[in-house]
Amino acid sequence: MRNKLVYFSILLYGIIIIQTTLLDYIRVYNVKPNLVLIFIICIALIRGGLEGAFFGLTAGLLQDILTGNNIGPYALMGFLVGFSLGDFNKRFYKDNFFACAIITFIVSLIYESVFFIPSFSFYNLELILAIFKSDILVETVYNVVMSVPIYILTLKINNTIDIKEKTVNKY
């Protein structure tokens, strides 16, 4: 348990640093992928809803505190994503990264749209669709592309934790 917490904390720290610094250098159409969201999805799919929700909540809180305007919105969304994906992890093989890509597609679309909804009242339908295409859709596709290597990486980390915990439990 303690091991797992240490691994997750290091992972989270690394992701937040990369998300706020390096990703700005690999923007595509001025949009960067949402690494934090992809990791929340991967952890929820691999480790289950409870750990996914906990990771989502902590990651979201850090995002809110470090770069957000209020404390709460990212934490709430991260928590909900982790929680709602909890049941999926029992329904498919863990090696199936195709499922992860599809889920990343759907979740990214919803996640980013939620943050855009407050601005709806300022724009007409035509503009909303244009922004949807130029921002949300591009980010969603970018997230899907990034999700496959990240899923494989998370799976590897997960297996390492599992093996270590099993050897600890043996003695």
Partner: protein, 274 residues
């Protein structure tokens, strides 16, 4: 009932409610995010600074060879420019002295005089794609406080929205939450400049509340008006790029091209109020 309390749905509802209340509270009581952010940011800021500095170095190195050719041509052009600029400079020096004397005579208070410029590096950007905020490597320890204006030698960048111990959050001029009272230089019309989701990707912002009688054309210079108490008067914001009619066909708004290029921003200056 006791079954419900033990179920995961209870956990879901209670955490969601808690986060919603937290969002509301942090919006109405800004001390909460400030107090939390001050300490949480400490372990992040130094590493972010290191990573960004490293990445900037690598970026510089990769563009080095491509730059050589352009630099050579630019050098020739610049040499040609120097002569005319030197002449202009001499004239401007005379104007500066004259301006100083006239201001003294008219007793105009210089809003910049009471401000101390502090250099800062941008060490991190917003985690998502919806806001234009960034983190700089100066904080409360350097005397930074809320609402300090942030500029570069080119013009206005934005303002400090949340100072932490060793870093600060800065809201850029093109962020969708930003609203600045501005005026058209020379003409003096008061307007409002604000960030907009649609134009932010191109590094632009919009200007509205344009008085109906104002005669504004593309190319007009926009600067801060000094109203509102955050920005001193006369900081260059940018120039009018295009004028458009709003949906109701009565009002008009303009697209502003900021003097600062937000896509290539590494270093800024924070104006410390005394």
């Amino acid at each position: 009932m006791s079954n419900f309390i033990r179920s995961k749905w209870f956990l879901l509802v209670s955490i969601c409610l808690f986060l919603l209340v937290l969002t509301g509270l942090s919006k109405s009581i800004p001390i909460i995010p400030e107090a939390v952010g001050r300490y949480v940011s400490i372990p992040f800021a130094p590493v972010e600074k290191l990573v960004t500095m490293g990445a900037n170095k690598i970026e510089d190195a990769t563009t080095f060879f491509r730059d050589i050719q352009t630099v050579r041509k630019e050098n020739e052009d610049l040499k040609a420019q120097i002569d005319s600029v030197e002449k202009e400079n001499r004239e401007l020096k005379e104007f500066r002295q004259e301006n100083k004397d006239l201001r003294k005579a008219l007793n105009i208070k210089d809003q910049f005089a009471s401000m101390e410029p502090i250099g800062a590096n941008i060490i991190a950007k917003d985690a998502g794609n919806w806001f234009d905020t960034f983190i700089v490597d100066r904080g409360i320890n350097d005397g930074i406080s809320n609402d300090f204006p942030v500029i570069t030698s080119e013009g206005l960048v934005g303002r400090v929205t949340q100072p932490n111990s060793v870093s600060s959050k800065v809201e850029a001029l093109i962020d969708r939450n930003t609203i600045i009272s501005a005026r058209i230089s020379q003409k003096g019309d008061l307007v409002r400049v604000k960030g907009d989701i649609q134009y932010r990707d191109m590094g632009l912002c919009i200007m509205d509340r344009i008085p109906p009688e104002a005669d504004i054309v593309a190319g007009d210079i926009v600067e801060t008006s000094g109203i509102g108490g955050i920005y001193p008067r006369g900081i260059l914001i940018g120039k009018v790029k295009e004028i458009r009619k709003s949906n109701d066909e009565i009002n008009k708004y303009a697209i502003i091209e900021p003097a600062v290029d937000f896509r290539r921003l590494d270093e800024v200056i924070i104006l410390k109020k005394q």
